[in-house]
Amino acid sequence: MKEKTLLKGNIAIAKAALNCGCSCYFGYPITPQTEIGEYLSFEMQKNNLAYVCAESEIGAINMALGAASVGAKVMTSSSSCAVSLMQETLSYACSDELPIVLVNVMRAGPGQGYIFPSQGDYNQTTIGGGNGDYHIISLSPSSVQECVDMTYKAFYLAQKYKNPTILLVDGLLGQTAEPCILFDNPYKEIDNSSWALTGAKNRPSRKIHSLEPSQNKLNKHILNLKNKYDLIEKNETDYEKYMCDDAEIILTAFGSLARAVKAVVNSFREKGLKAGLFRPKTLYPFPYDALKKIASQAKAIIDIEMNLGQMLRDVKLGVLSDSKVYFIGKPTGNWLKKEEIIDSVENILKENYANI
């Protein structure tokens, strides 16, 4: 058993990336994720790995595209408004089927916003700003330990499905230090020798491209991608449910905010109110079916986010009825406190459910 270390989320991600063989990092500074690049700049140079202080986030994500095309494990990290700059290449990487790990440590938006913590990039991550039929696998850690676990998982899923993967981290979590254990990477290595650009030696040359002037071929390509996304949805959907089995009130939340919500559930249970927490760990694929099952027996579903209701849309799609779905949230700043959430939940219940 490895020993516990007190690590900031950002540093934990950087260490986990190195641990699982990330050999290339390209990035551009932006608060609150800069420590990732700072930490890796030393470690990667020391180990003769690839590290470029890119000229822009556009440069960084395209360097990542190039590195991914040769089969390297590559990561870039950024934040919110700068992740906006990367959307084009994420769409390319989906069509090219290239594994890139992108860490987004969120700050407040829209536009430049500020470095305050926020969860405002749910839509950017799960819906995206790129063009075409594509999806990006998205993992949402709620603790520093999960930052480690999900960094490993992000690399694994990216390689397994040849698709970009986003680790969506709350700014608060990137900056917060908690004890965590840097386990060895638990995932197996994925063989990429069948497609990586390593030079056409003793084999035919390979081409990686998204342009496809043949309508039939392009249709076929997009349908193949769709089949892959179906498989990802079937195999990789992940969530946490806490006290949901007999719950009359389901609270939904993602990221580190879900922990405060868990405390709310505990408080309600002490008061005799049957509350439960449902937390998606994968934002894409979103656990619609699991939520639907849990929600069918609940009287109210209350979604709580540090934004103005971005996951709410998916929650409603899962519940398939918005008559009993409510929302609590605020755009940015100090994380919603347990007490604030309790007050808001009680208000919703009082207004809508005389008998709970």
């Binding site: 007190l6 700014g171 608060l172 230090a177 580190s256 922990r259 405060a260």
Partner: protein
């Protein structure tokens, strides 16, 4: 059992250092802990603070409205955080750099001339560790081995500096008792 701490002061007073030392002490004692440095508009400029939360079960709230214990190493941070102290909570004030004045009567004040005491010990920079010693005395009784180990994690192999800080920590730890006697 959950306890919340805020450590505050100005840049150069080692606020974040003793914050991480305290967080490490909790970790080494197998407690759940989170440490968050000041985060937001205050990042640039003189004021520095950090929030530490400790619990003997899974820690659920990373950010809290108020703290059980606040350390304020100067007047600005005293003014800023005095209302963040929970009712019946405690504030440790560096009276070398802040007025001895009680604006609340529902909390406990500990005034200590930390900067002067640190100078007497030979290093102005260890006022923070004296404060940490005082805090330890009134919160938990941690073994000095673990405290030392926590300092080693932060100060790595700066042996002399570690020793100086431990000395300051112990001075702080015994400070109240000596004053009471």
């Amino acid at each position: 059992m959950i306890k919340n701490f805020i450590i505050s002061g100005s840049g150069g007073q080692g606020i974040l250092s003793i914050g991480t030392v305290l967080a490490n002490i909790f970790m080494l004692n197998d407690l759940f802990v989170s440490y968050c440095p000041c985060y937001g508009a205050e990042m640039r400029g003189g004021a520095v603070n950090c929030e530490i939360n400790m619990s003997n079960e899974e820690l659920l709230s990373l950010q809290n409205e108020k703290a059980d214990y606040v350390i304020a190493l100067n007047q600005t941070s005293l003014d800023k955080f005095i209302n963040k102290v929970k009712k019946n909570g405690t504030i440790i004030v560096n009276s070398s750099l802040a007025k001895i004045e009680k604006t609340r009567n529902d909390i406990k004040y500990i005034f200590a001339p930390l900067t002067q005491e640190a100078l007497k010990l030979g290093n102005i920079k260890i006022a923070n560790s004296i404060a940490l010693g005082i805090l330890s005395k009134i919160t938990d009784n941690f073994s000095i081995e673990k405290v030392k180990k926590a300092y080693e994690k932060i100060l790595k192999n700066k042996t002399e500096l570690i020793q100086k800080n431990i000395e300051a920590y112990l001075f702080g730890y015994n400070y109240l008792q000596e004053r009471i006697q």
